[in-house]
Amino acid sequence: MRLCLEARQLACERDDRPLFGQLDFALGSGDIVQVEGPNGSGKTTLLKILSGQLGDYQGELFWNGVSLRQNRDHFLANLLYLGHAPGVKAGLTALETLAWYQALAGDIPSEDTSLEALAQWGLAGFEDVPAHQLSAGQQRRIALARLLLQPRPLWILDEPFTAIDRNGVALLESLIQAHANAGGCVVVTTHHRLDIARLGRIRLGVTGE
């Protein structure tokens, strides 16, 4: 069975302003899709809908053929979502944060793999520093280290390149590519020009206001 997230006639409006309508797409193994559009065109809104956080949309979403509303648990077990806020507690260290995320996912926390993931993200030496003493980019790197730790097929990433320096951008791009090659599926928004082969696109707000 392939994994598959499918949207049929997806439409959403906020405050009576239509954001997008008649979206139809199906994402499966190996797909990388960039959601594009100017500021305020509804990218974040779309990602929140796709990750099951926002309920007021028209149309239907299907996960492996079953409507998302009925299949939420199965869907969530396959999803890794990173939003605008990094989800990193100011009072916890990087290691503690990752251990908590692993436990939350039902995995057994393993310090070795966490250390490795942090080292890969350039946080070696900062594993035991409370996050509020880290810079904006370092905090986001902790969140991104989850990509290496939690094997979920579907990644939904909302502006993951924010505050990340150039090495970090290259690393993230290679991770996204590798994930798709391994059969995963990635939905990403960014204003960067992504350096990725076989990139699908969903354009929002092209007709504009």
Binding site: M1, R2, L3, S29, S51, G52, Q53, L54, G55, D56, N64, D73, H74, L76, A77, N78, L79, Y81, G83, H84, A85, P86, G87, V88, K89, A90, G91, L92, E96, A99, W100, Y101, A103, L104, A105, G106, D107, I108, P109, P151, R152, P153, A182, G183, G184
Partner: protein, 233 residues
């Protein structure tokens, strides 16, 4: 990675991790544990200053004052229960975890009660002494507060969950939650007064226990639902 993951089991591990994390965060900023206690003590200090220092008068109003002050201390500490998770995006992450949200909420409420309600119950006798509370009712004070604050934490968490997305939730939270606190207050302060008089303590405590049982059954679902609504807003 071609096969989709099945929903994981491991809910108990997740609940334990949540409990551990919250206890750790609270204990790390030691202030979070001590502050409600000091607030309790301070409010108790305000009353004799505002009302009158006469021991005879104070003894009469002591059970009510102690309970009201403990209730306010528990209430105020609730505001941060979900707010910090909301602000830094952790909340949306653990709502997306493939675990029963209600259980995770329970873990958070338990952590809160362990480090707020329980300590309040434990230091209440000391403040009782200062308010000239008649001897013999200290035990009732402790037990009724321990039982009662557990219900307060559960009920309050619903309010905290509903207001988490709103700026300045603090006062709105009080508004939502205080009316629901009234039954607990009645039977809690009633228990202490009964102990002072020397009658009917067991009945009051039994009712407090029953309230707690109801709260335990219903609150977690309400909290989980309220959180979903809040992040949707």
């Amino acid at each position: 990675m071609n096969r989709p993951n099945e929903p994981q089991r491991g809910a108990d591990a997740a609940v334990v991790a949540m409990l551990k994390r919250d206890l750790m965060l609270l204990l790390r900023q030691r202030g979070d544990v001590i502050n409600p206690l000091v607030f309790f003590a301070l409010v108790i200090t305000l009353f004799p200053i505002g009302i009158s220092p006469e021991p005879a008068l104070l003894a009469v109003v002591a059970p009510g004052l102690l309970w009201v002050a403990a209730l306010l201390a528990a209430l105020l500490s609730l505001d941060g229960l979900f707010r910090s998770d909301f602000d830094d995006g952790s909340l949306e992450q653990w709502l997306l975890a493939p675990q029963p949200t209600a259980l995770l909420c329970m873990a958070k409420v338990l952590a809160h009660w362990l480090l707020t309600g329980l300590p309040l119950a434990l230091i209440a006798p000391l403040l009782g002494v200062m308010l000239a509370l008649p001897a013999g009712s200290y035990w009732a004070l402790c037990v009724s507060l321990a039982l009662g604050t557990a219900s307060l934490s559960l009920i309050g968490a619903i309010g905290a969950a509903l207001t988490v997305g709103l700026a300045r939730g603090g006062v709105l939270l009080s508004l939502l939650v205080l009316p629901l606190y009234i039954p607990v207050l009645i039977f809690g302060s009633g228990a202490v007064s009964a102990a002072v008089v020397g009658s009917g303590l067991a009945a009051h405590l039994a009712i407090l226990g029953a309230l707690l049982a109801v709260a335990l059954m219903l609150a977690p679902w309400a909290i989980a639902a309220a959180l979903r609504i809040s992040i949707n807003g």
